[in-house]
Amino acid sequence: MRQLLTLVGLSLGLASAQNPGVLTIRFLDVGQGDAILITSPEGKSVLYDGGRSEPRLQALLRQYGVQSLDLVAASHADADHITGLVPAVTLYRPKFFLNNGLAATTQVWSKLVAAAQKAGTQGLLAKDQTINLGSVKLTVLAPPPGMPRNEQNLNSVGLLVQYGPFRALMTGDSEIPETRAWLKKYPANLLGPIDVYKSIHHGAKNGDHSAWLAAVRPKNVVIGVGPNNYGHPTSEALSLYRKVGATVYRTDQQGTVTVVVQPGGRFAITTEKGGPIPANRPAVGTATPPAPVRPATIPATPAGVGTPYRSCAEARAAGAAPLRRGQPGYSPALDRDDDGVACE
């Protein structure tokens, strides 16, 4: 009975980012892109990447009751990682903006830097340093020396999150030369084992590889992914995760994935819709996946009937256009103006 009450209490608490006494990490469902919200037991918050849609990220921050952000981080300057940081900086005026020091030429990058200037947010060039987020330790994995400066992916900024014995790792869209350099630079016990790991580059072919995963030893992998033209996640990446025995979560299939870590390191993973991919073995160790929890505010596509249309032509051929957000088959990828109506 006590265990049941604990689970109920945990589930009720998941609606808010400010859940006192625990570390909460949310891999937000932002479609094709990454956005990870980290909130310490003391209520301090970090947003690592912001996905590719301003309104989507803004809605998610409101949905999860975010009151403040202390730091935002851009793993690198690609649009599917930084667009949502614009409203995050504008609305929450964080103290710091962690970045890799390489400016992009895009309009959205200029908009983000201008928003940071206006908000009084201090730029923070990634270097090997530790940032204490209350009782949570954030270790910055700076891009190693020698990475070509014209390749944003290869200059991704990593973040190791530690709370007691619990460890999570995210490394943007790093590619093999960067992770190889990190393997040489860092001791093996810094890189792994990892309880919750963000798949590199949405499960692309050029991200995770066996030598890197042998060091990281991830128990659970979360893939930030949505409908895309790149084939993410690739069968190669999924096979790698299977080989290391990790349980895989995907934001395109399960919505936002939430990790709640208790003092002492016990953690639970819940998803907005559905469980982990059955083909993978259950997590070993301390992970306890309870029943799925569906937050109440943003209506989600009904599970099982919500496979997004691949194109508007396909939606029209099925007589389904226009598609409204929340309807089966709707996809943000088809909603070019992000007004909640696709294939207008």
Binding site: V46, T121, Q122, L125, S311
Partner: protein
Amino acid sequence: MTQDEQGRPPESLTGTLIVDAIEGGKARVELADGHTEDWPLASLPRGVREGDVVRLHVEGGDLELEIDHAATRLRRGQAQAQLDALNRPAPAGDFDL
């Protein structure tokens, strides 16, 4: 009609775009209105790289694209100076939030 559905850019498109990222045979481009689309890399000028500004113009009914190297250099220089200024007084060593 969109480029994604037909594999080629619409002919009504003129102005500039910026290459946000390249992966395999695809390039994610930022259009003048700020939206991004995935274009076949082959539809962009040969040798195009991430960050390049590409100029589009219609000539004789054909859509032509060329890398605007001067505009690319200008944007890159301005953006880097802006970021360097933002990063300048950052705290050194470990710190508390």
